[in-house]
């Protein structure tokens, strides 16, 4: 169990270094997997080495050398190995003293895996596999696709990286903002998948990736802001469901909120704000923070949504602004904003609209909107929540709580 945790922590680090040495993700992954398997066998018997990272990298590198030797395609495949190939594999202890100087190349690997030349779903899967250390099985489960499909998706992505020459490098300054945005989008996408209630805790995986990025890029405000945003959202996880039912924010039991995580999120947010620039994740983290305050400052929330809408041009952001505006100027003001949006395919649009219609006393229309939302709902708690609301707004059969209808 403890070994498991060590492995999860080491996987990305070890793999990244191996990709740097071997120049091929697939080969690096095979070698790393072998090294971890050997460790599982030996460490409990012989004790954990003083420098687990160095041990794993050296062992994996030796396995790769063996591999390449057998295949006899070594010379041009891995120039850096040339010397080692002549002398043969070295004992795993050889690299131990160098532990501190093993370069951390996870950032290079991150930019490779989130390269825009890869399909977004491939970027997501690959990031979880290489940096997050999830197995193909776990990733398949998380995205509810068959193992075979996920395995093919990963293999295809690795082959494209190799064949198309997607670089293993941190992009130059002029490309960095775009490429970093792509990396953050992948992490945030993983986080949002996690809220759907799948079997693998993707939200925790995304936070894990976010922490690694914050560690690697401590001066990028958007990286810190994304981590803050995720922590602030995730802190309410335990309070969000009660007996399988979604609990709206205002009805949540605040004692269930993870205050330590909220504090950490707020500290990161302050830090990011102190660096000046206000990117979209910073604005979102600031909004997430404002939502946790009581009483809620709806005016500031509405303003921030406006800023965010300008940055992202997203109708979903406008929808959220409508919620804040409804709190300030009443439900009709919110509905006026919603009516301008083209979000008919979006399930939360209908539930949001239904809620405002209900508050405006337009029960008939609310009922209709809840019906649309229920048709589009994807998880069981969402369906239950909406079914209840649907029943409450049924125009003819008004039911009192606890009073069964006949």
């Amino acid at each position: 169990m403890a070994l498991d945790a060590v492995f999860r922590d080491q996987w990305g680090r070890v793999l990244a270094t191996l990709v740097g040495i071997l120049g091929d993700i697939e080969l690096a992954e095979e070698a790393a997997a072998e090294a971890f398997a050997i460790a599982v066998e030996r460490w409990p018997r012989d004790g954990e080495p003083a420098n687990p990272t160095g041990w794993l990298i050296t062992t994996a590198r030796n396995r790769a050398i063996d591999h390449l030797r057998r295949q006899q395609v070594l010379a041009d495949k891995a120039k850096l190995l040339a010397r080692d190939l002549e002398t043969g594999p070295q004992p795993a202890e050889a690299l131990m003293e160098d532990a501190a100087i093993i370069p951390d190349e996870r950032l290079e690997l991150t930019f490779t895996c989130c390269h825009p030349a890869l399909a977004l779903e491939a970027q997501v899967a690959l990031s979880l596999r290489t940096l997050g250390g999830l197995s193909t099985d776990e990733i398949a489960l998380a995205f509810l696709v068959p193992f075979e499909t996920m395995s093919k998706r990963l293999t295809r992505a690795k082959h494209k990286i190799r064949d198309a020459g997607i670089p293993f490098a941190v992009p130059p300054d002029h490309q960095l903002p775009d490429r970093l945005a792509a990396v953050l989008a992948v992490v945030y996408l993983i986080f949002n998948q996690g809220w759907g209630g799948g079997r693998v805790d993707l939200a925790a995986e995304a936070i894990h990736l976010g922490r690694a990025l914050a560690d690697l890029m401590p001066d990028e405000p958007e990286v810190l802001a994304l981590l803050a945003l995720m922590l602030l959202h995730d802190a309410r996880k335990a309070a969000r469901l009660r007996d399988g039912q979604i609990v709206p924010l205002d009805d949540q039991d605040r004692t269930l909120w993870d205050t330590q995580q909220i504090d950490e999120g707020r500290a990161l947010l302050q830090w990011a704000m102190a660096r000046g620039r206000t990117g979209p994740y910073l604005v979102q983290a600031a909004i997430a923070d404002l939502y946790l305050h009581e009483p809620r400052d709806w005016r500031q929330i509405a303003d921030l949504y406006q800023t965010l809408a300008r940055q992202t041009r997203s109708p979903i952001v406008e929808m959220n602004r409508a919620i804040a505006v409804a709190e300030i100027d009443g439900p009709e003001a919110g509905l006026a904003i919603l009516d301008r949006l083209d979000l008919d395919h979006y399930r939360y649009f209908h539930s949001t609209r239904a809620e405002l219609l209900r508050r405006a006393g337009r029960d008939g229309e609310a009922h209709h909107a809840y019906r649309r939302a229920l048709d589009l709902a994807q998880t069981e708690p969402e369906q239950r929540f909406l079914a209840d609301r649907l029943a409450e707004t049924t125009p003819s059969v008004r039911r009192e709580p606890g009073c069964a209808s006949t």
Binding site: A117, A164, A169, P171, Q175
Partner: protein, 114 residues
């Protein structure tokens, strides 16, 4: 690495054969990292050959019938995909609006030039 850049252009009204290569594009083509290039005649000039169980079948026209057609190709040398994309972007700036460039790594090959 070597890459082939395949330029797909939208249909045009004038005869491309009579149109000279724009000066800005010609300047790019002279760069050493562009190792070869070919501008193709319009798609009406295409003939497609298929092997139907040993019988050679000829059809008039391009293999893929689409709104955009293969108008030309460039062979380039770049360190990696990012380098190739940078060159493709420069070339795309100098081609007609609506043109798209597909970037394909080259497995192996030889190009003697025209």
């Amino acid at each position: 690495m070597q890459y082939a850049l395949l330029a797909y252009a939208p249909a045009e009204d004038t005869d491309r054969a009579t149109r000279p290569i724009p000066g800005t594009l010609a300047a790019l083509l002279d760069r050493p990292n562009i190792t070869g290039w070919a501008r193709l005649h319009a798609e009406e000039s295409a003939t497609t050959l298929r092997n139907d169980e040993g019988r050679m079948l000829l059809t008039d026209g391009p293999f893929i019938d689409s709104k955009e057609y293969l108008a030309g190709l460039f062979l380039i040398e770049a360190d990696n995909l990012d380098g190739a994309l940078t060159i493709a972007e420069e070339l795309l700036q100098e081609t007609r609006p609506g043109t798209a460039i597909e970037v394909r790594p080259i497995l192996d090959g030889r190009f003697r030039g025209a």
